[in-house]
Amino acid sequence: MKYIIAIIQPDRLDEVMAALEEEEVNLITVSDVMGRGRQKGVAEVYRSHVEKGGLLHKIKVEVAVSNNNVWQAVDAIARGARTGHIGDGKVFVLEMEECLRIRTGETGVSALA
């Protein structure tokens, strides 16, 4: 099993969700986050206070998939998030040891579905 964390542009969330839907990835968690990459952020000015290279608003998408579905899921996220511009984001793939469905007590791949 793999745990996938993607950091994407806020306005690409709908496309990423739709692409994951196509690949039948259902276990999705989304959060509002702040972040920046190589380009740093955009400077912000508040009267005399200049905030250089501040953090930018991003969306974090987290999905858990079985080993068979990893590349479909990663590809779906990339397909949905790509604009070709700086700041499109990153996808990280992590090894995942275990998964428990709280309601039934099922574990492993069957708990993912």
């Binding site: 000015v45 009267r47 005399s48 501040g54």
Partner: protein
């Protein structure tokens, strides 16, 4: 018995309520500009002044400011607890409205003025020290200066300096106290690398409420519903408008973006500067005062403050002090007896003397407020300590001074 005019009375009741709204408006203006861990402390400080200052005013503040004169310097205690202040008009102040209405109208100014100072010591002053300082400041600084400028027998009133709605009493006074506070308390931990404003829409809401309330502040200072109050109303609108546009335009011309914070800061600076002039200048005069206020306060806040290095956190001195002084001086240029026969002509209308009086009033009030405020802050520091501990400053005043948080993460 003097005749009560129902139109005047109705307008002054409304004006009083409008000025009351400025203090909560200021709470939002300042509250939006601080970090999220301190927003309640700002709003609490503003709100507490609505309570404490109203009580101070009724028991002795009003009497000290407007009661029978002693040497041109201060009133006495003969109107303490409002003895002799009733429905019958006081012809010396406002001949057509109940004396109690004049008293409560002035009360709202006495509430607002110490609240303006909060901007200078935001995010680091102990609540106990804040309450103690505010009461002492109102009694020893505000009440006498209000007497000098507005009280019957007050020496500046007799000198002939013009201050229509409180540019000197309210804004120069509070602005100089703010400068003293920024110097005595010192910088916030981490300044100038402190975080940006946590909620600009709050600040914009606050500025909007201030602008709205300012119609009561300035047009109400005509103390009646008449041509003069409408003239002041128009001047208020135009002063704010010109300054908002000027500040945003300077930002834009300097190669940066015009900002929302800059635009509302400009509006407030314009309102401050037009305050002493509102009942003495033409609409075009108000536009001129506003435009200069936007420009000068921008320079004070964005360019000069950074170089001098003191932490006037929310620019109480930069906007109210500088804007107030500018307004006092510009009144000496643009005032005209065409608008208000009870006023005087300024430099642009062939009389240079008024400018001298304006300058004297400005310098004396600014010096008095700065020196006394500085002393009072040092005194309060000795008695209860001005600043919260470094640890509590890091945690934030909401939690450490009031055991509350403005925003919950979940729930």
């Amino acid at each position: 018995m003097a005749e009560i005019d129902t139109g005047d009375t109705a307008w002054m009741i409304v004006s009083t309520a409008l000025v009351m709204l400025m203090t909560p408006g200021l709470a939002f203006f300042y509250g939006g500009l601080v970090r999220r861990k301190n927003v309640l402390s700002i709003m609490m400080q503003c709100f507490v002044l609505l309570g404490v200052m109203s009580i101070q005013w009724v028991f002795f503040g009003y009497s000290l400011a407007f009661g029978p004169d002693h040497g041109g310097f201060i009133g006495d205690f003969s109107w303490a607890a409002l003895i002799g202040v009733g429905a019958e008009p006081n012809a010396d102040y406002a001949a057509t409205i109940p004396h109690t209405l004049f008293m409560v109208f002035q009360m709202m100014f006495a509430v607002l003025t110490p609240a303006l100072i909060i901007g200078a010591f935001a995010e680091r002053m102990k609540f106990s020290a804040f309450v103690l300082f505010s009461v002492l400041w109102a009694t020893i600084v505000y009440d006498p200066v209000a007497h000098w400028v507005w009280g019957v027998g007050g020496w500046l009133r007799d000198l002939g300096a013009l201050d229509f709605a409180g540019g000197t009493v309210v804004h120069i006074n509070a602005g100089m106290a703010a400068l003293a506070a920024a110097l005595v308390l010192g910088k916030r931990k981490g300044y100038p690398d402190t975080s940006p404003p946590h909620n600009l829409p709050f600040a914009i809401l606050g500025a909007a409420l201030l602008w709205f309330g300012w119609f009561g502040f300035n047009a109400g200072s005509a103390l009646g519903a008449n041509g003069l109050s409408v003239s002041a109303f128009v001047a208020t609108q135009l002063g704010a408008a010109a300054a908002a546009v000027a500040w945003a335009a300077v930002e834009w011309i300097k190669g940066r973006r015009p900002t929302a914070l800059g635009t509302i800061s400009g509006a407030v600076a314009g309102l401050v500067a037009v305050t002493p002039a509102a009942g003495f200048v033409t609409p075009l005069g108000a536009l001129g005062i506003g435009a200069l206020a936007g420009l000068v306060c921008y320079l004070a806040v964005v360019v000069v403050k950074g170089r001098l290095g003191y932490d006037d956190s929310l620019d109480a001195f930069g906007v109210h002090g500088i804007g107030g002084m500018l307004g006092a001086l510009l009144t000496g240029f643009w005032a005209t007896t065409v608008i208000n026969p009870a006023g005087a002509d300024g430099v642009f209308h062939g009389n240079g003397k008024l400018l001298l009086w304006q300058f004297v009033a400005l310098v004396v009030c600014a010096a008095y407020s700065f020196i006394l405020s500085y002393g009072l802050l040092k005194l309060v520091d000795k008695v209860v300590g001005l600043r919260v501990s470094e640890e509590n400053e890091g945690i934030g005043l909401d939690l450490t001074q009031h055991s509350e948080s403005a925003y919950t993460l979940v729930g």
